[in-house]
Amino acid sequence: MPASALLTATLEQAINRVLPLDPDSAARLQALSGARLTAFVAPLPFGLSLSFSEQVDVHAVHEAPAEVVAALTEKDCCIQTSLSVLPELQQTSQLTRLIQQQKLTVDGELQIAQQVSALFQQLDIDWEDQLAQVTNDVIAHQAFTTGRQVHERVSSLLGTFSRTLGNAVVEEKQLAAHRLAVMHFNDSVSTLRDDVARAESRLEKLEQRLTKR
């Protein structure tokens, strides 16, 4: 069974569950409607494409990058890089060099990559509110007062990251910044999922404490 299908199914589910938790993401998704972002990260044997409509469809791309690039429309963006280059992408000062060395390629509509990055970067989810919907408000609140420290640390990390990115967009060549942003959007998603997991475990502990009383 192609592992790629399992991977994209999982990614797709995660993304489409997380996005609606931020009421503002609908508008950002709307702006991307009809657009597609394809990423080839060597040595991954296939590319990944994100197609935007009222939801995000994640698919494996088994065509060669050249074929994808040849068929780009004005609603397409295709990025190519390699796994070994990913760490270097964190240093915005290196990006221009990477492009010159052809370790990084962007074809098509750059704005799409930028919008995709914004979609995930600007996710602002009220986890307390989410939890309150499944449990009662008091427990949710307690879970969050105790868990807030961790939560804030994560948020501030994300904030720093967004600022770095923001600077990159301003300071570096546009081209480079977009790519950096895209490389990190997956990270953001998993950070958010970690967040939920942490909140859940705090909640469990609290519940145990409450029932012991």
Binding site: P2, T8, S51, H59, H62, A71
Partner: protein
Amino acid sequence: MSDNAPSTPVKAAQTEQEKTDFGFSQVEKTQKASLVANVFDSVAAKYDIMNDFMSMGVHRLWKRYTIDCAGARAGHKVLDIAGGTGDLTAKFSRLVGPTGSVTLADINLSMLKVGRDKLRDRGLISNIDYVQADAEALPFPDNHFDIVTMAFGLRNVTEKQNALNSIFRVLKPGGRLLVLEFSKPTSEQLSKLYDMYSFHVLPKMGQLVANDADSYQYLAESIRMHPDQETLKGMFEQAGFEQCDYQNLTGGIVALHRGYKF
């Protein structure tokens, strides 16, 4: 071809009164279509649930892989023949976007209706047409579609070669056909295990969940009667397809065949 009313059925021209397989039974060729119709009339309502149940959800991955290999892009015209309850159509509808179109075609009105209701409930309407049609005699112009997919449908067609020829005709030059179908497991052990599953477990599940053991017995038998990987590849070539290849999925329980029209 309207969103609201499936168009009139198109019957394949049939001249010779020969026998063909219906599962393990031999029936008049003219009878097979209506026998198959009975099966899908009978399973339509519970079709989606049974698919998940019987394949343990894996059919979704097979279909997803098929879509990945289809290379659908914004603006493409896609035909999902024997599309049934529209699993592939739903995905394609979003991938080809408002500038593209997807035609969900099936010979069976019950299946088509279940599909149409499901897709409408999901808000997918604007770029989907619903057409009642026989794969053997597709009611579409020559050189019309960029992509044709047929998932778990070919097995049920009376004259499979006619269907492949007909699909070849409606594909645009440069277009591709993807056929996802049960096939021949590559290992002896898997094959035995799979036989046990399909002939003993499956009809019982069909009885329990859908109260319809016969239809699922037919399913098992029709899978066994379907041409193996190499034979089907040869039939693709005979229809005129080029660069034909196939990929075994889940040890050959299912194979994805692909061919291009140039």
